[in-house]
């Protein structure tokens, strides 16, 4: 007999796990939430989305204070109190995490801070930080155990100057020279933070471009700005070796036009994340795990084990918090026999650099690769009054439209605030909206959201603030 029993155990307290636990409790289930962290919230709250956004906010403030010189407002160069900045970030994280603990109490969800390992399909062994071991059995379990940064062994040289994203968020110091290995969203976001704080940031990316997966035309304004913020960006370049010396970490680089050896004070490895499927006893259950380590699920989040469901990063790409939250709702509703299904068409992706880059639905490169019939409609922000007033005209709003019914199948936006703007695109795509729907809906003036309306206008005519001659046949 296990020490405890619950109708539902949710394993993992991140943005997948805690919404699942809350939703189940709200529907009257008896729920235990098991999380191994000091405070619940998972990677997202503790060492991901939230702390990085707190720091990016500060980075943006620093950058804008410098740009203000062009508008006739000059500030003294900032003095950075790293301890205080770290406190600000930690307070943000702390208040959100304790908020979750409070919500657990309010809803009657029992939170157990321990690492859970499956001993069979209906039992978890729980080991708390102080070494106490107990067991809990369950009728059903939602597995939401997330992912961790990928750290290949040849980068793991046992020197704390080589960090992953967790280490970078700890903000131990502001290194003079920072190498960011991997030009994905984590590398660019953290690179932006350290660049604003004063580091000389070098980004090395193995593939031909930054942010593989994003459309190149949207990437272009971001790249131009990053080139100014960063000391160097090397694409098509590989880091062959890292070696610790007294002077710093010496990186051996392989790529065209790149110095073969460069020395850095710190190195951030941000080459991706991998699912946490190891060392948690999944092999003791009937769950099936694919070759990349993701638990295989159906459209209702059910796994091959009838007692287990999986959500979030552990259940497959894209590894995004908001995907996990939606999957949590689907999983719980499925348990309740509701007609839920993960049938979402648009999972928004947002890169919180400056400018922000966001997309939803199909990207243009996906549409091309899948051979879809589509037309692309770009509206340059130079024609937006709001963008002009912000002094930020480099943005682009792009609509991908299916030509027969002019249904919106994808939206990509680059520019300040793109991450907030993409919400409209998500609703439009999920609702099956047509370009006409977007063009005929009144958008507040003067806002950046007008660029979506104007891009939609260009699907069947000319947008008000931009003129594109029709192509001669």
């Amino acid at each position: 007999m296990a020490d405890k029993h619950a109708q539902l155990v949710v394993l993992g307290g991140g943005p997948g796990g805690y919404p699942a636990a809350f939703a189940a409790a709200d529907h009257g289930m008896q729920v235990i939430l098991v999380d191994e962290g000091k405070q619940p919230g998972g990677v997202c709250l503790n060492r991901g989305c939230i702390p990085s956004k707190a720091l990016l906010h500060v980075a943006k403030l620093i950058n804008e204070s410098q740009e203000a010189a062009d508008w006739g407002v000059t500030f003294q160069p900032p003095e950075i109190d790293l301890d205080k900045l770290r406190d600000f970030k930690d307070n943000v994280v702390g208040s959100l995490c304790s908020g979750i603990e409070g919500l657990c109490k309010a809803r009657g969800v029992e939170l157990i801070k321990a690492r859970g390992t499956f001993t069979d399909s209906s039992t978890l062994e729980l080991k708390s930080a102080n070494g106490v071991v107990s067991t809990v059995s369950f009728d059903k379990c939602i597995v939401a155990i997330g992912s961790i940064p990928t750290m290949p062994p040849f980068f793991d040289i046992g020197d704390d100057r080589v960090m992953d994203s967790t280490g970078a968020l700890e903000l131990k110091d502001v290194p003079q020279r920072l190498l960011v290995v991997g030009g994905g969203y984590i590398g660019l976001e953290m690179g932006s933070v350290y660049a604003a704080l004063g580091s000389e940031v070098t980004v090395v990316e193995m593939s031909p471009g930054l942010l593989p997966g994003a459309d190149r035309d949207l990437m272009s304004p971001l790249r131009k700005r990053l080139m100014k913020q960063f000391a160097a960006i090397h694409v098509n370049t590989k880091v062959a070796k890292l070696a610790a010396t007294d002077d710093g970490i010496v990186a051996s680089l392989e790529g065209e036009g790149v110095e073969p050896e460069l020395t850095f004070d710190r190195v951030l490895i941000s080459i991706g994340r991998r699912p946490n499927s190891r060392n948690c006893g999944l092999e003791k259950t009937q769950v099936e795990v694919d070759e990349r380590g993701f638990i295989k699920i159906d459209r209702n989040q059910r796994t091959a084990d009838p007692k287990l469901m999986a959500i979030g990063d552990i259940a497959g790409e894209p590894m995004l918090a908001h995907k996990a939250t939606r999957e949590a709702k689907v999983a719980v509703e499925t348990l309740l026999g509701e007609p839920a299904e993960f049938d979402n068409i648009a999972i928004p992706a947002v890169v919180f650099t400056d400018p922000e880059l966001a997309w939803a639905g199909k990207t243009e490169s996906e549409a091309k690769a899948e051979g879809l019939d589509y037309t692309a409609h770009r509206f340059p922000w130079a024609a937006s009054g709001r963008a002009q007033s912000l002094g930020r005209t480099e943005g682009i709003t792009k609509l991908l439209v299916e030509p027969t019914k002019q249904r919106v199948i994808g939206v990509g936006i680059v520019g300040p605030g793109a991450g907030e703007m993409i919400a409209e695109a998500v609703v439009a795509i999920e609702m099956g909206a047509t370009a006409r729907d977007l063009a005929d809906s009144i958008h507040a003036h003067p806002t950046l959201s007008e660029t979506i309306m104007e891009a939609a206008e260009s699907v069947f005519g000319q947008p008000t603030h931009f003129y594109r001659p029709t192509r001669k046949k």
Binding site: R216, D217, S220, D343, E370, M431, G432, Y467, R468, K472
Partner: protein
């Protein structure tokens, strides 16, 4: 350039067709307006003609394939003249570039190329001209040519974005693109090179050689066509279909009710499905009578029991059902299980009518051939006027009988491809000669599969005549949404007592099936008696 010619809308309401016959072959040169293929819709065959002239580069469909409207049928190379020779195609060096070679180092000097019999070749650079006053640089918004393309003078090379507008940059020279020096997103100053063009100075021809583009585009285009064909093929599996145009709440409701959204017609702008559409769909389905007692509780048509493996009993051959047969089978099944059928039989004395008909046909060889069917159409119209309920439809959803004030008579025609029912309109306004002429015309069209959808819509009553084949009586199935159908069998000679004498009479067996919900038995009997007597005392018909 290569054009994908897609299946146009064949007729209103037709979403997909079967490819009956493909009339072109790869490599054929066709003129604009040429017929590409014949397609079968529910009840007719239509010819699909192509507005583009050129060479058929690839055929993208197969005979027998069911394709939705909008499916690419063929890939047509419109640029090729008839002068294209296989040699130039195979020699062309352009195939080794897919146009992505935008990073090729710019050639700063015009470099003379080898002279050819056609004329001298040389390369020039085309640089960014002044786009607008005061504009020193532009961003390249789109590059419209790639290496290997053959362009005409005035072709648009790229789109360039300035702060407030997009300008098309056209090139005054004709020739082959040898290098593209700019990429999308790049900022280019006025005067900087955009492309390198190889120009052939050919005094007799101002148009560039046509072969290279054929090669590149034909090589590139099929791969695109293949991938779109793949999409079509996998479109059946529910996961690969593009999402149905409905919001999350609507999709959820559909899931809850077990409604397949792909079967629901969206009523909102752009065909979007809203919750009301699902409600309407379900209400419609429920209005159809449920499966017979003892059957499953499922809505709609009951599925047939699975078939045994016949080959274990003896040799078999499998023949695919064509679209006409499949549609007919579904409609007949639906009518049979949803309409309570009664068949009323009678014998009509047509002794005098038949001899009068024969006499008329013999004496008037040039007049349209009066058949018994043509006469029956007129007789039926007369009886329908007397019994309007027989010329109706029953609307169970609204609880109404829809009485029709028009007399459109459908006539079942047996063709080698299956049963079709062309319709003769407004028979009350036509005399028997006009009806006979139209009937002959429609029968010919039916056999030649030339009937249009409109030719087969709108019947208010149907006649099916098996007299030419034989038989004494049969039970026709009502052609929904009509409520009655008249079957004619072979006329038979019978002996009758008349004023104490034995006389020979020619009797025509009539079998009328009707929807008992719309017509009661007495009315049906009165109808057939009235019909029969009008054939006997046929002066009523005129």
């Amino acid at each position: 350039m290569a054009i994908e010619f897609k299946l146009p809308a064949v007729a209103e309401g037709i979403e997909s067709v079967d490819i009956a016959e493909i009339l072109v072959a790869e490599g054929d040169t066709i003129e604009a307006g040429a017929i590409i293929c014949e397609v079968e819709t529910d009840k007719s065959v239509a010819e699909v003609d192509c507005p583009h002239g050129g060479t058929i580069a690839k055929i993208l469909v197969k005979t027998g394939q069911s394709v939705p409207v909008g499916t690419p049928l063929v890939l047509i190379d419109t640029a090729t003249g008839s002068a294209k020779t296989p040699e130039t195609v195979s020699e062309s060096p352009a195939t080794d570039s897919d146009g992505s070679d935008v990073t090729a180092p710019p050639k700063s000097e015009p470099a003379p190329a080898a002279a050819t019999p056609n004329g001298e070749k040389y390369e020039v650079e085309f640089s960014l001209p002044e786009v607008a006053e005061g504009v020193a640089s532009v961003d390249i918004a789109e590059v419209l040519v790639s290496v290997g393309d053959v362009i005409k003078a005035g072709a648009v090379i790229c789109e360039a974005e300035t702060d407030k507008s997009v300008a098309e940059i056209d090139c005054p020279d004709a020739g082959t693109i040898k290098a593209v020096h700019v990429a999308v997103g790049q900022t280019v100053n006025v005067g900087e090179p955009l492309v390198t063009i190889e120009i052939t100075s050919s005094p007799e021809s101002s148009t560039p050689p046509a072969a290279p583009p054929t090669t590149t585009e034909a090589a590139a285009a099929p791969s695109k066509a293949v991938s779109s064909a793949l999409v079509v093929e996998t479109a059946d599996s529910s996961d690969r279909r593009p999402p149905a145009p409905a919001g999350p709440a609507t999709r959820r409701m559909a899931r809850k009710l077990g409604v397949d959204l792909y079967q629901v017609q969206g009523s909102a702008k752009g065909g979007r499905i809203v919750i009301e559409d699902i409600e309407g769909f379900v209400r419609n389905r429920l209005a159809q009578p449920a499966a017979p007692a003892g059957g499953s509780a499922s809505v709609g048509i009951v599925a047939a029991a699975p078939l045994p493996d016949f080959s274990k009993f003896g040799p078999i051959e499998k023949q695919p059902l064509n679209k006409i047969s499949r549609t007919a089978a579904a409609n007949l099944h639906s009518a049979w299980i949803t309409i309570p059928h009664v068949t009323q039989h009678n014998l009509a004395d047509i002794t005098e009518l038949e001899s009068a008909r024969k006499r008329y046909v013999k004496d008037n060889p040039k007049s349209p051939k009066i058949t018994m069917t043509a006469i029956m159409i007129k007789a039926v119209v007369g009886a329908l006027r007397t019994f309007p309920k027989v010329n109706s439809s029953i609307d169970l959803a609204s609880g109404e009988l829809v009485l029709k004030k028009y007399y459109h008579i459908g006539v079942a025609v047996d063709t080698p491809n299956g049963l079709v029912v062309p319709v003769i309109r407004n028979c009350d306004q036509k005399n028997v000669l006009q009806v006979a002429a139209e009937l002959t015309e429609l029968a010919v069209k039916a056999r030649e599969r030339k009937l249009k959808i409109e030719d087969m819509q709108g019947a208010s009553f149907t006649i099916t005549n098996l007299g030419g084949i034989g038989g004494t009586s049969f039970t026709p199935i009502v052609n929904h949404p009509e409520v009655a159908i008249l079957g004619m069998s072979r006329g038979q000679k019978v002996l009758q007592m008349e004023e104490e004498k034995i006389v020979e009479r020619l009797m025509l067996p009539l079998s009328m099936s009707y929807d008992h919900r719309a017509i009661n038995g007495a009315d049906a009997a009165r109808f057939i008696v009235k019909l029969s007597s009008s054939l006997t005392n046929f002066f009523e018909l005129f």
